[in-house]
Symmetry: C2
Subunit: 420 residues, 2 copies
């Protein structure tokens, strides 16, 4: 069984919008072992959309479209797709009532163009959209399962999970299962070098390397009739690779290093506080994205000026004067002071220069990250040349989380500066 994703929207062709929907659809399909060989993007254009649908009909068992279901006059998907399969659009009265109800609830006047959304292909299954106004729908015709989803990712995502998943459950024979061994502090090319022979030899499971922003991972993928069989194929490889790449390999299937570190922190029963200069609140923000954060994260101080570092956080004025705000000494004091002030087990600090201008002393990209605990304070010095402002901030935050997880996992917290 194979599927094709057709994303509709001139905003995608103009690069105005990033195609996150295609990734979300693809992820779900791959869970079901449904191969996706093609993704196509077309604009809000009748002729090219029709062509894409006709090509997809010939080579794919499932077609999933995203976008073009809304109330505006360039929303053409339902019309064109229905026509390609010889179907008419008819007013769906249940959906009309739902739509009118939504507007009444919001005390908002519903302009008439919104009704366009509730004309659906005759005989289709309505996929009720509890996250927006435009209903999604599915139908089978000419040996093809066709599913049309709205474009806004915050509607497309939940519809995939709660409406499309049940449709696929009934249709799957085999499944593809993957686990990711995630690594921090090693490059993709180097990792792959040590795995190349295995990658070429193995067929089930397979190994594939990926680079993510500042991290990399090995994906181990197995195809089997049941989930248990697939897990049994994967398990020995997860263990082998995790061992081979320790201490870089920090987790299996964590979403990213910050989420992994926060879950470890929450599980440890310890508390943390942050003192952020260069990152401006990013580390605190990331810490509070993990559900349950409030049991482990007490808060922090964003100390963006020298005066505030001294007066509110208590960094010595002498130290600031002598070493400058971007220094090992200031990082150490920031981590220790915030730990004391908040009464936390762990204090984390970040100070550096994100640019674009420099301070006359340090080069843009110089960052110190410190982690203070009872009786010890660890520091890493990073140097990220030629990087943009946000990227430097994210790299600094990643290192803070790597220090945190290494501390909690009883691994060396500081690392060789050469390998940063």
């Amino acid at each position: 069984m194979n599927a094709e994703i057709i994303s509709v929207g001139t905003e995608l062709l103009l690069g105005e919008t990033i195609n996150t929907d295609a990734a979300a659809v693809a992820q779900l399909l791959s869970e079901y072992g449904i191969n996706v060989y093609w993704q196509t993007v077309v604009g809000d254009n009748r002729v090219r959309l029709e062509h894409a649908v006709n090509v997809a009909k010939e080579r794919s068992d499932i077609i999933i479209t995203t976008g073009g279901l809304g109330p505006t006059c360039d929303d053409l998907t339902k019309e064109v797709v229905a026509e390609a399969f010889g179907k008419k659009l008819v007013l769906n009265e249940a959906e009309e009532a739902r739509l009118r109800g939504l507007y009444a609830e919001r005390h908002t006047y519903m302009t008439e163009n919104h009704l366009q959304q509730v004309y659906l292909p005759e005989g289709c299954t309505v996929l009720v959209n509890d996250w927006g106004t435009a209903p999604a729908c599915a139908f089978e015709a000419e040996g093809c399962l066709v599913i049309m989803l709205p474009g806004p990712p915050l509607e497309c995502g939940p519809l995939l999970e709660h409406r499309v998943r049940p449709l696929l459950d009934a249709r799957s024979d085999s499944l593809i299962l993957s686990h990711n061994v995630r690594m921090f502090g090693i490059g993709e090319g180097t990792m792959e070098y040590y795995l190349r022979d295995l990658m070429n030899e193995m067929t089930n499971p397979t190994l594939a390397p990926y680079a993510k922003e500042g991290e990399c991972l090995v994906r181990i993928t197995a195809k089997a009739a049941t989930k248990d069989e697939a897990e049994a194929l994967i398990a020995p490889w997860v263990e082998k690779i995790s061992r081979q790449f320790a201490p870089f390999a920090y987790s299996v299937d964590a979403e990213n290093i910050e989420d992994y570190a926060m879950r470890r922190l929450i599980a440890s029963g310890k508390t943390a506080a942050v003192a952020e200069s260069i990152t401006g609140g990013l580390v605190g923000d990331q810490m509070t994205n993990t559900p349950g954060a409030s049991s482990a994260f007490l808060g922090g101080m964003i100390v963006y000026t020298d005066e505030i570092k001294n007066r509110l956080l208590g960094v010595d004025a002498d130290v600031l004067r002598e070493h400058g705000a971007v220094s090992r000494e200031v990082a150490v004091q920031m981590a220790e002071r915030v730990r004391e002030k908040f009464g936390a087990d762990i204090g984390i600090s970040l100070t550096g220069l994100a640019g674009p201008g420099d301070d006359g002393v340090h080069t843009v990209g110089t960052v110190f990250v410190a982690l203070a605990v009872e009786g010890a304070t660890y520091v890493r010095r990073l140097y990220k040349d030629k990087w943009g402002r946000e990227r430097i901030k994210h790299a600094a935050a990643n290192h803070a989380f790597d220090m945190l997880r290494r501390y909690l996992d009883d691994l060396p917290v500081e690392i060789d500066e050469e390998n940063q």
Copy 2:
């Protein structure tokens, strides 16, 4: 002149990676008035990549590929594309020297597989990659301009700007220019309703509505021989629409509301500090993404627990007890106290419940945002039901920035709760 984007990578088909490169390529092309009618995604698969290249050759004047230039054995793009145009890959000695130099500089051992990256199509123009190891390249053959770029967005992005842009400069006859009137606090459907007749009538410039996360915009696009002519076509419409949708229309061409608000703050000469509970540092993080932030942003406190709100920020224990941390009263005190403590002109605070668990009193999604200045404190109450944790945080932050920009632009800061 029209172009086609072919994105290569099984990680894209599996939904592992979101295709940001395609958007970046498309944006650049649309600046040059080069129409993109198709984007295709294929995996690291020789047969399908070859098919995609052959289809593209027939219908497009320019082919831009992203991905598959790296050192790993599933990086096939150069090989397949060169073959499709009857070209050989040859070792590029300058690039080999550069690659070896990079590794020497990093004191890292270069495994031999990395050399694969410096085999390039004979006679091509090398697009030197100063942001990574794999060089990009371009060649012309069979009436087609072919450009191959690496997949990592932090390499692809700068290569587009510094290497591909000069190539396109030489080839453009007409250009497409767009300006975006950005709005906050009005829905796309409603906005479009008031513009529909115009949208249908106009041909040059054209109007198109877009929804962005929590915001929307009207894009006004003109095609002309010169930039000045295009600007002259667009200008009256920017003015007309900005006036029609005031005070929702906050800016022309701002990247987003936080960047706009920060630039306004920096220009005003005023200073700000933040007290963040629900957002955990997100507002401070966003404030410090705008270059020059350090002249206006002093810092803030992340006060994630009641004890810290009271002891370190100075919110009255009585008020916390009586009204709870998620209340108008606590938001007001947080904004006023952080303003005093930091000695800022403007204090901003956010308190609310992001979930997943509730506090027994408030529903998940309830947020209070306050802005305190000399002599006045403004509050908005938001209620974002059924939203996820990160989305609630971002919505709250957006409102903080909308309050800030409205204050600086002398507009009403509080808004009718019905319209949030």
